[in-house]
Each structure stands twice: as structure tokens, then as C-alpha cells.
């Protein structure tokens, strides 16, 4: 089965760049469960805009540096 969302993200890379922040630490900062962070990282869940902004804010990065959406093929 393919991934259920086309949204990709750089959360894993950003966590390592941020002093190897753990998934649990990020979950605490965002106010979600660690399982949700894992699901987002693996592309199994697209978060709401609010959670997406909170994740970006946790890294001090703009939203489109954390989440990416592929260009439509014409």
C-alpha cells in the first residue's frame, strides 16, 4: 500500500540538526503523542495546519522548510 499522503517532510533531518531532538521531545513541545510524530515523519499522517505550524515553530523554521508538497504534473 502506498503512503496515504503526498505531503513529505524534513522533520527527521531537522530533529538531528536540532541537537538530535528526540521524537518524544518534539511531541512534548507540540502537544501531541510520540506516535503521531512518528506517523507524520513516516508520511502516514498529514497533520492539521495548526500542528504543522507548531512543529515548524519548534524548529524555528518556516513551514515550507519542514513540509513539502510535490508540484502538479502537467
Amino acid at each position: 500500500m502506498g503512503k496515504p499522503t503526498r505531503v513529505t517532510n524534513s522533520i527527521r533531518a531537522l530533529r538531528f540538526a536540532a541537537d538530535e531532538m528526540t521524537q518524544a521531545d518534539l511531541a512534548d513541545r507540540v502537544g501531541v503523542t510520540r506516535q503521531t510524530i512518528i506517523a507524520i515523519e513516516q508520511g502516514r499522517y498529514s497533520p492539521s495546519l495548526e500542528v504543522a505550524f507548531k512543529i515548524a515553530r519548534a524548529f524555528g523554521a518556516p513551514l515550507d522548510e519542514v513540509f513539502h508538497y510535490p508540484e502538479e504534473e502537467s
Binding site: 518524544a24 501531541v32 503523542t33 506516535q35
Partner: protein, 150 residues
Amino acid sequence: MSFEEKLTWVSTSVTVIVVLVYAWLVGGQISETPVGEIAYQGPMIAAAAAMVVLTIIGAIVTAIGAAVSAQITGERSVYDIDRSDERDAHISRRGDIVGYYVSSVLMFGVLVITMLQFEYFWIANGIFTAFAIAGLVSSAVKLVSYRRGF
């Protein structure tokens, strides 16, 4: 596994066990006794009550287990074990919607057997079975959504 996912496993397990016990107790009489004479009412009420009570007990045991685990591993605060978030809410809503449609279709079947004037035994057990199946399908959708995402 999130706390909400564990609770879904608890309610699913309880439903399967209780329905199987009920089917064993009541269904076993169908071949020997006319259905109009089978005393299904007591076991059915007991089964419904058992589902509620066992699910509550299961949730309490799950919470205690999660708290003990959190205490031993020190990975998170014991006050944080039952955290749920938007993903849990989305998954729960998704399962509930599918369960609603399944119960609606099955209830239509019960309506048909009622119009055909089947014995009360079949009507009552049809409703009981419809709720059980809808609950299990709803739980299955939730568990698959937790595993595969959506």
C-alpha cells in the same frame, strides 16, 4: 502504541470475547429448542452489561500498566500516559462513521425480518448482532488507520 489505540484493542477484545460467549450460550440451544422458547433475554442483557463493565476494567488495567511502564522506563511522566491528540480524534471519527454506515445497513436487514414477522428471538438477536458487527468494523477501521495511516 498510543493510549487511545490500546483502548481500542481493549474494547475490540472484550466485544469478541463477550459475543462468542453469548453465541455459545444461546446459539447452542437453537438446534435443540424452538427459538420462541429460548431464554435469550437474560444472557443478552448480561452480555451488554459485561461489555461495559469489562471495557471499563480493561481501560483501568491498561492505564495502570502504562503508568507502571512510564515509571520504570522514565521515558515520560505518569501524568502524561493518556495523552490523546488530533490524530486520535480523526481516527476515532473515521471509525465511528464507518460503524454508523454498517449499523444502518444491518438495521435495514432487521427491519426486513421484522416486517416478515420473524420470531422476537431473531429480531432481538439481529439487533444485537448488528451492533456487535458495527462496533467491530468501527474498531477494525480505527486499528488499521493507526497502523497504516490515512
